[in-house]
Amino acid sequence: MSSWLDYTINGLIVGNVYALVAVGLALIFGVSRLINFAQGSIYLVGAYIGWVAVVQLHTPLPLTIILVAVTSAIVGLVIERFGLRPLQNSVRIAPLLATIGISFVLDQLVMLTFSPNPRALPSQLPDVRFQIGGGTIGPLDLLIAGVGLTSALLLFVFLRYSKLGWAVRATAQDRDAAMQMGVDVNRVNQAVFGIAAALGGVSGLLVGMYYNQIDTAMSLQATLKGVVAEVVGGAGNVPGAVIGSLLLGLVESYGVAVFGTSYRNLFAFLLLVLVLVLRPNGLFASARQAPPEPLTGTFIAPSRPVRIPRWALLAAAAAFAILPLLPVSFYVLQTLINAWLLGMLALSLTLVAGTIGQVSLGHAALLAIGAYTSALLSLTFAVPVGLAVIGAGLMSAALGTLLISPSFRLRGHYVSIATLAIGEIVSLVILNWESVTRGPIGISGIPPLSLFGHELISPTSIYWFSFGVMVVLALLQGRLLGSHLGRSFRAIRDDDIAARAYGLSLNRYKALAFIFGGFAAGVSGGIAAHLYSYINHETFNTQQSILALTVVILGGLGNVVGAIVGSVALVGLPEVFRIAAEYRILIYGIVLLLLVRFRPQGLLGTM
């Protein structure tokens, strides 16, 4: 019995920490209908500022908390002013993408400043445990609970009794009407970003102290947990976010109690998917709330695609095809092979996110499914590698579509959240399903690529193989876009209600798009498995999903040629400029930010 009480206390404490993140997300979503993916980065910044304060400046605890809150709030204000305010009149997807870019930049800056190695963050509190009932509780637990309650109280007083708080509530309910009462919406945005950042930063500090360790991977985890809690409580609902957080903390804690630590996140994401499917407005959303999602046609930047003459495409393809015959280094070929593999993933994502408008943030999961399928088929069942790669495509198409199907009934930002969660679930299932996937050990000794019994080992042959596969996929996708089916996809993206009124079954078309896209991504993952010869559950991670999204936006959403050009550019340019590996993610983040700001339609335009 006593341990159950401990798990309950632990769940509530962790829930309190999540609540500090989720409340900020809810405030921001309420006011600007934006899911702030940079919230976890502020939490990370808060944790590291706390480390500097505690370990280097030796500040007393109250001062540490104030220092973290103030500095984080300033970071939040800077993000609002320079990252998001310029996008106010932009397409609806722009601010979401901007927060993703900002989170990349912030995380990398922290990593470059402090190195990726974990650091210890001492709690400054005496390490004693008090017995209560059958469980124990320590001073840090009480501190976290105290900070959580105090923040909730302050927030309540602010929203209920201050003029700015009224403005926040009014803006959340009707932005235009609030402006017509004289509310300066920019100030409201500033206020919520400042508050959200202060709470998020303090949350990072407390978590660091709770686990006595901080590292740069905390950021994405915090964003994910915060988003889960917020959506469970009902997006934009502040009290709902608190309850959602406590619920999430308890579910995780009990899940860990029964199944073990590696299942913690699996429960979080299953809870999210369950809520999204059963009650997409959250457990506590008011029924009256209008769906805050995109007004038609405004989600993706409309533009005329750049027309590239057929001969130019043919010439470019021919040039790349004969490249290995020229005296180029293996290094160049290796780089381009990576570009072709990324190109296949980008083809897949540009179809799903661009053509039919389902902005997936979990696309790396399709790579992982393909990679594991191909690896296991060739290793366990001795299937020839060529066939195994095709099997990988089919498996990703089938399984990927099946897994993503719960998100079909969602729209806009919710699709991104759901796909992100589903991607994480895939990675966690791979980690935990040891009998099939070999769990955390991963799969090694994957045979090299081969075709009709000939092993493809030389860079030249691998180059031709991957280039050829990508070109075939691109041609197929080009045909698809020009067909009636392609037009239906675009109709669903531009106005799903009108498309439905014309008799298009949304689920069926979304499934078709994911089947096609899943195949391309699965093939890419399958080929990658045979090239790497070793894969594990972290080989294909969220960073790759975001990289693919950056490629797709760079090329122009829905644009087939653009996806390939974007891949070559994002893989190639860092090589050309010899940018060190640790700066690359930073560069990708900056590229994404600049694109969203100055050329949301991408290089070649959306199609």
Binding site: W166, D174, M179
Partner: protein, 246 residues
């Protein structure tokens, strides 16, 4: 009150507005005299609501000028325009549904900082809209359409505006409330607040207005004193969109 036709309170002059490629207003000129009720009539898609948005700074015209009390409103943000003394009763009320009635009315005084004056005005509103007295702590979203209209009007008055712009104040109300709303508009006006209202219901609007304009696909096709227009057969034609007649 200074009444001089030469110096209108609000003037739109030569306004051309576009949504993307589509032109919404063609050389639109409208004036609202001090202390007057002016209504803008027109059918669907005639550009009425866009005219409201131009005045409130929610949409910017491509050319032309909008002046209030002699100063141009172009380049001002909506909150700045509200501070100049223009309050609004938006289309379909647009109350803050999850806030209480009291909070909604007080939101109207957002631009003011005189606590005592605000409290006095709140009492005054309860005198003007006695029904709201019992509803003060209720969620605004739970009121009936007519009651919501009362809240929206009280909310607009709380900023002590020189002018109120109203977008279809009688839309969707029961006949009983339509009369009540029109009467209230008259009362508000008699207290010195100028009113600019957009309406589809021509005959009702002309009952209380001093002047009226008829807008048809972005152009003013008819204007003049309401008394005169009320009997003008072209009102009917223009209103129904009969372009041959106009």
């Amino acid at each position: 009150m200074t009444t001089s036709a030469a110096e209108p309170l609000l003037a739109l002059s030569g306004v051309n507005t576009f949504y993307g490629q589509a032109q919404v207003h063609f050389d639109l000129s409208i004036t609202v005299g001090r202390g007057h009720i002016v209504c803008l009539l027109g059918g669907n898609a005639s550009g009425k609501s866009t005219t409201m948005k131009i005045i409130l700074g929610l949409v910017k015209p491509r050319s032309g000028d909008v002046t209030f009390d002699g100063a141009s409103l172009l380049g001002l943000t909506t909150p700045q325009i509200v501070r100049r003394g223009i309050a609004s009763v938006p289309e379909a009320r647009r109350l803050f549904a999850d806030m209480s009635v009291r909070e909604n009315i007080l939101m109207g005084a957002f631009v003011r900082n005189d606590r005592d004056g605000i409290a006095q005005d709140l009492d005054k509103m309860l005198g003007l809209f006695p029904k709201l007295g019992q509803r003060l702590s209720q969620r605004a979203g739970s009121l009936s359409g007519g009651e919501q209209q009362m809240v929206a009007m009280a909310r607009a008055l709380m900023s002590r505006p020189g002018m109120i712009v109203m977008d279809e104040p009688t839309m969707g109300l029961s006949p009983l409330y339509v009369d009540r709303v029109l009467e209230l508009i008259r009362t508000i006006n008699q207290e010195g607040v100028s009113v600019f209202m957009v309406e589809q219901n021509a005959s009702l609007a002309l009952e209380i207005a001093h002047e009226a304009y008829v807008l048809q696909t972005g152009r003013i096709v008819l204007s003049g004193p309401a008394r005169v227009l009320k009997d003008d057969p072209r009102i009917r034609d223009a209103y129904l969109g009969g372009s041959e007649a106009a």
